[in-house]
Amino acid sequence: MNETLLLLNGYQWAVLAASLSVIFGGIGSCIGIASAAKMSAGVLAEDPDKFGGLLVLCILPGTQGIYGFITGLLVVVFFGLLGGDGKSIVLAQGVRIFLGCMPVMIMCLVSAIFQGAVSTAGVGMVAKRGEAAGQGMILSALVETYAVLSLVVSLFLIMAAQAG
């Protein structure tokens, strides 16, 4: 119970895993959305009719933040971090939870930033041709794939850590 690795015990590793999943996913999404939204604001200042297509392009990089949130929430719920049960997490299990969350932590941070870049380019397309919004969304969604894959793997790894 009192075993530690890098000064953290099992419970603290689990809390760190949940926190960083939410934080990194959130940071990535903030940067991605801000990139696309800032350029969209410029386009809308000139042509307010393009709001519909631009809104979706701005929203797309936001999903990584949600994946981080889901992962963090599952760690909290599965391992009883809200109640007292979490205190019984041993070091090995805590480290497994942390490692299980890493795909989401890293991939959501990176993919949201790059998805923001693709969405920003999509905003440029919509500025020139309003009907290009759909194509911009598809291109942007391609980057999303890898965030989804990381979420799936993280979920399995968290379940594996729970099964012991």
Binding site: I31, A34, S35, A36, K38, M39, S40, A41, G42, V43, L44, A45, E46, D47, I113, G116, A117, T120, A121, V123, G124, A127, K128
Partner: protein, 336 residues
Amino acid sequence: MLKALRDPLKYGFAVGRIRVRETKMLGANRLDRLIGAGDFYDQKRILVETDYGNFFQEAATPEDVEQALNDYLAVLYEFLEEIYPEKKILSYFRSRYDFHNLKVFLKAKYGEKSTERIWSKLGMLDAEVAKERVDEGNLDEIEEPYASALLEAMEKFEEDKDSQQIDVVLDRALHLYLYEVAKRQKNKFFLGYVKSLIDLANLKLFMRARNLNKEARFVEDALLDHGFIPKGDFISAYYDAPEVLIGKLKETPYAKIVQDSVAGQEFDLDFFDRKADDFLVSFLKPAKYIAVGLEPLISYIIAKENEVKALRIILIGRLSGVSAQTIKERVCAQYV
């Protein structure tokens, strides 16, 4: 990576606005229609569909066209001032008008030419105040880099009594200023553009000096620093056949332009000017594919300036009775 994070946040809004405005540019098709229009009033009817429309309502003479286009540029610079995060970029573009004005004022001071109507209000200095100060020789009140350039030009003129020295000194000061502004931006594209501009200015200087049989010493003094092509290449080839310079340029994009500008023992400077403009437009084209950053902003200003230049040739050409074919030859390629 840092650039990818920084640029959308820094330039995103401005690029968003200009991307929409780019769709309203005249483009090759509309310019062709303007060239082919029956008369100036037909041209005005075509322009009504564009954002130039309001500026040409009352225009009837070449002077009106000039005035309308200057008013258009003033409004354009005002718009860019409002949206560009880097105000220094605009000083790059507007300082050219200041240096032009200072040349005109200085030459007028020394009794060379009248200043009426040939100076511009598009610079950053208040042109009328600058004229007064140049006339009085009160350079303390003029800001840098203009004051030291003026001082040097005045000293050179006093020494040689040659008004060409005014052009040489102020051109050199202008290009040095442009280079420094571009260098401070730490943007390869922008710096590359300025260096190409310097190369083309040096090439033109070389050709003009050759056409006028000037001495190599004049060219050596007048050549600008900071281009891609070393000044030594120009100087060492000055008394040789054009092929020698073309040989030195063979690794650069300028070789063909110079080769095509050779006309017998001389250089065709009008042709060179047109090809140089086309080259600069082709230099800007890659910026169309950069989603966000300083590049699209710079390209937009230059593209708009080229558009105004093309419009000036087309409208004033038509009013002056120049044929459609000649006008078409003079209008350079467009960015959009």
